[in-house]
């Protein structure tokens, strides 16, 4: 059994069941191209009438997009009536495939999942072969929304009575992800608001500082944070009600008072009993060896189930759950590390000191402990002299003779817990309500330090033009301009630098050689990017990528095919690189008032860049 169905067989199977036209979503561009090649080798040929229909549609598109005429796949598509559609293709070619699909000329399109978002061409059937997608460097499971976006392309309104989403297995499939995606509710969306430097400059250009907080409060981010804060505020109200019986007593702050007193008293008692046996390190540690705590042992790790003292020696002991589920006992002194990690567990009065359901959960967690866990910082205190404590107790605390003492003693544990809860909630609410504003402030400080803003948060002369650069890595670009890195620069070198800043893909490949001038400038850019690293993530700054753009701008006679031959990049990727470079250059062009020379250089680069296929689309 082959791991997945052969593409030609797949389309034949679909044709025979009247399930075409279909979109077949595959894991990679490579898989799409392989599928096309399989068709190229096959004997499949459409009836002449259908081939003519395809030719007619393409011929009409050629007037607007001349590059379609010379596309190497044109004749295959016409013969077999299927096509590939992915980011490695030129936009004009993708437009052609989309139009063919809309007009019903094709039986199938092999596409990557990037198609799912944005481009609209539907089909009768959608074939799903995978349950995860590559996102940055890792594969992640498709979300419910994503599955529905894929499957949703099936069934064209007005052209189909019913649509089909068909799953065919490959080694990359998890059936559960797909069925959940098909039957579930799409996920809720969350704000991804970030405060960027250009945002700050543009906000402060148009609004005085005292209005900014109110403007940030209008974001969806703050709206969602407020929602969360409101939930906590309701909880806080409840806590306040619960706190009512524990208001001021003879001491206003009796909770703290009792806490200190109790602590002092315990230390005293504790000292008398155990002083001889235990080191201060162990004593300090004991209060953290509570049920649910993860600890390190000479061999492996474990989760504390209970702490107790041995019968004869009164040694401190712990009962531990070890990975694999074994329950063991050992002296507390054998614990080598106390981790900053505790699990919830339901304690029980008898062996294994933990409720059965809770134990199962713990065993699972014990087996699944992260490799690294933070160690809990434990402060070892030199213990005060015993006489001192007795003294303190009598001198400093009114508690021993206070009439409220029994009540305080009884209520203290509950009251303290409530009060801590109140504090925690307060802090979280504050963070939710003001977090965005604080982030704005800390980024504003950077802009002040670098001289874009005055101490009063007004735009400096530099800030005035810098706010027009509204792209990723804006800080690097404006700093380069300030450092005069671009003075007297050639258009192809400027374009080369911009594309190395714009390009964020680290796929390797073969590329043309870079000129010495561009190489040395790129070194300077790298240096500056590193120094800005605390404020802005540095771009990849690939020299090979810069060289592609340098060639295209530097030699206006170079043809598109000639450029493609110089590198192993797919032409869709080269196109995207140049289109993005163009965007960056047009931002530089907006500086024509303050930096006429540079703006002019950018505009010359744009003029040369916009030729051939790069002229076909606006």
């Amino acid at each position: 059994m082959p791991p997945s169905i052969h593409p030609v067989d797949l389309i034949n199977a679909l044709r025979s069941k009247h399930l075409t036209p279909a979109i077949v979503f595959l894991t990679s561009r490579r898989a799409c191209d392989d599928a096309m090649q399989a068709f190229e080798r096959s004997q499949v040929a459409l009836p002449p009438a259908r081939q003519q229909a395809i030719a007619a549609v393409l011929a009409e598109l050629v007037t607007q997009y001349p590059s379609i005429a010379e596309h190497p796949l044109q004749s295959v598509v016409q013969r077999v009536g299927v096509a590939a559609h992915h980011a490695g293709h030129l936009p004009s070619w993708k437009i052609a495939i989309e139009e063919l699909m809309r007009q019903g000329c094709l039986d199938a399109v092999f596409a990557t999942t990037t198609l799912a978002a944005g481009v609209d061409f539907p089909a009768r059937t959608v074939i799903i072969t995978q349950s995860s997608v590559r996102k940055s460097r890792d594969f992640t499971d498709l979300t419910i929304s994503e599955v529905q976006q894929l499957a949703g392309r099936a069934g064209r309104r007005g052209k189909d009575l019913v649509g089909f989403a068909v799953l065919t297995p490959s080694p990359y499939i998890d059936l559960g992800v797909i069925t959940k995606g098909l039957t579930g509710q799409p996920e809720a969306i969350d704000s991804q608001f970030v405060i960027s430097y250009p945002m700050i400059l543009n906000l402060l250009k148009a609004h005085p500082l005292d209005q900014i907080q109110a403007i940030l409060a209008k974001s969806f981010a703050q709206f969602q944070l407020n929602r969360r804060a409101e939930i906590l505020e309701n909880k806080l109200d409840l806590l306040h009600v619960q706190m009512e019986p524990y208001g001021p007593r003879i001491c206003t702050d009796w909770i703290s008072q009792w806490q200190v007193f109790d602590h002092a008293r315990r230390q005293k008692a504790h000292r008398v009993q155990v002083k001889r046996h235990e080191s201060p390190e162990l004593t300090a540690r004991l209060q953290f060896l509570t049920p649910g705590r993860v600890v390190g042992l000479p061999k492996g790790r474990g989760i504390i189930l209970r702490q107790y003292r041995s019968k004869g020696q009164k040694q401190p002991m712990v009962t531990l759950l070890r990975p694999g589920g074994a329950v063991t006992e050992c002296p507390a002194s054998t614990v080598t590390q106390v981790f900053d990690k505790t699990f919830e567990m339901a304690e029980a009065p008898v062996y294994p000191w933990c409720a059965p359901a809770s134990l199962d959960e713990l065993i699972r967690q014990a087996d699944d402990l992260p490799v690294r866990m933070p160690i809990l910082p434990i402060l070892v205190q030199e213990e005060p002299e015993e006489s001192q404590i007795v003294q303190t107790l009598n001198d400093e605390f009114p508690c021993p003779t206070c009439p409220s003492r029994p009540a305080c003693q009884k209520d203290h544990a509950v009251a303290l817990k409530l009060r801590q809860e109140v504090h925690r909630n307060h802090k979280m609410i504050q963070a939710l309500r003001t977090g965005l504003w604080h982030r704005f402030q800390s980024r504003t400080e950077v802009l002040q330090q670098l001289g874009y803003l005055t101490p009063a948060c007004q735009l400096t002369e530099i800030g005035e033009w810098a706010r027009l650069i509204r792209i990723d890595h804006s800080l690097l670009i404006t700093e380069l301009i300030r450092a005069d890195a671009f003075s007297g620069i050639e258009p192809q070198v400027l374009a080369g630098i911009m594309s190395s800043i714009a390009h964020d893909d680290d796929r390797p490949g073969a590329f043309p050689r870079i000129s010495p001038g561009l190489a040395s400038l790129l070194g300077q850019v790298r240096h500056l990017a590193e120094s800005l690293e605390p404020h802005e993530d540095p771009p990849l700054l690939r020299a090979d990528i810069a060289a592609v753009t340098e060639r295209w701008i530097g030699d206006p006679t170079l043809t598109w095919i000639g450029l493609c031959r110089l590198t192993t990049m797919a032409e869709g990727d080269i196109y995207r690189l140049l289109a993005r470079t163009l965007e960056f250059l047009s931002q530089i062009h907006t500086l024509r008032e303050t930096h006429p020379g540079l703006a002019d250089c950018a505009s010359r680069a744009i003029k040369v860049l916009r030729r051939g296929v790069l002229e076909e689309l606006p």
Binding site: M1, K94, R153, R156, L161, T168, T179
Partner: protein
């Protein structure tokens, strides 16, 4: 146990048992097929081999919850060489005997009704009409499934705005999509009525309908806020944001928020979105920051009914679920045939026939 013996034993195990064995041993084991899972198990455990073996023995004592393989593990444990290429008859799963009393659908009913509907005059759906109508009093968010006809709402709203001498801006997340819409809208409204703006080009920028990416609009709004008006925003009557579920895009989502926050008060906002989980939140947000209340249009009905199927690599087709349609919101009980075929797939892909 030698490595070969262990390998053979692993091969005989049903996949879900292997997954249980892999838990905590192999990162992201659930995305591996059976063959790769076995390889990973053998690779990752040279020093923990005894642990793996004893866990395997323990798991083999337990009955399995999943029915398609239930018949298997009553076999005596121990190495049993598989005959490569021999047909496997180890799955005597009785179709339909497991879950509910209701019989599972068959392929004939699953494939019934394929075809092209008779041409009908265009009649807008009630929700489409409502969306257009609601725009007269405030902003509108439309969150409906893919392919429902959101474009009609955009078109009709644009038509009305232009008729009332207002300008319209239509934004999409991708240049490619902008371009498609530019062609489509030019055909509908006439080329003189539609313009497109990109970073370096302004084609027909004085037209009443302007198409651009969301980033370009955001920049326009920033320029307008600082007094450098580029395109006439005072006559702006409607801003349409297509694919507005992009607001949750990790890199670019912020641009959608900025655009919405700075969208001129006199212009109405029309947000078109695929189905999302919390469109009401977005509507509430808009209501809280915009002059007029925002109306939410949402539904989850597919206009063209959707069915889900399973296609085996040998070309055999089966419904994926027990029901003809997709059982929304109910775990989704698999069709016994699809289940059997998939289990067979996982079993058979462990050894390519060529070996």
């Amino acid at each position: 146990m030698t490595t070969e013996e262990l390998e053979t034993l692993l091969e005989e195990q049903p996949v879900n048992r292997l997954h249980r064995l892999a838990r905590g041993r192999i990162h992201r084991h659930f995305r591996l097929g059976k063959r790769r899972l076995i390889e990973a198990l053998l690779r990752c455990t040279p020093e923990n081999r005894p642990g793996l073996e004893s866990d395997l023995q323990a798991l083999m004592q337990e009955p399995l919850p999943a029915p398609p393989v239930a018949a298997k593990e009553r076999r005596p444990a121990g190495p049993q060489p598989t005959r490569p290429g021999s047909p496997r008859s180890a799955h005597p799963v009785q179709a339909g005997s497991i879950e509910s009393a209701e019989p599972a659908t068959d392929l004939t009913s699953f494939l019934e009704g394929i075809g092209v509907p008779a041409p009908q005059p265009f009649v807008p759906d009630a929700w489409q009409e409502e969306a257009v109508a609601r725009l007269t009093t405030g902003d509108v968010i439309v969150s409906v499934p893919t392919g429902s006809g959101k474009t009609y709402v955009a078109l009709e709203a644009t038509r009305r705005a232009i008729a009332a001498d207002r300008t319209v801006i239509y934004t999409s997340p991708l240049k490619a999509l902008s371009n498609t819409k530019f062609t489509e809208f030019s055909r509908l409204f006439g080329p003189d009525k539609v313009g497109i703006l990109t970073g370096d080009r302004k084609d027909n920028a004085q037209a009443p309908l302007l198409i651009m990416t969301t980033e370009i609009l955001r920049n326009l709004l920033y320029d307008a806020a600082s007094g450098e008006i580029d395109v006439r925003l005072d006559t702006l009557g409607l801003v349409i944001m297509d694919e507005s579920q992009y607001i949750s895009d990790p890199e670019r989502g912020v641009v959608w928020e900025e655009t919405i926050i700075f969208c001129p008060a006199q212009a109405k906002l029309l947000l078109l979105s695929a189905s999302i989980g919390n469109p009401q939140d977005v509507a509430d947000w808009l209501t809280s920051i915009r002059p007029d209340p925002c109306h939410l249009i949402r539904h989850n009905r597919r206009t063209v009914p959707l069915r889900a199927g399973y296609l085996h690599p040998n070309g055999k087709l089966s419904p994926l679920f027990r029901s003809v349609g997709i059982p929304h919101g109910q775990g989704g009980a698999l069709h016994p045939e699809a289940k059997r075929l998939f289990a067979q797939y996982e079993e058979e892909t462990i050894r390519p026939r060529s070996r």
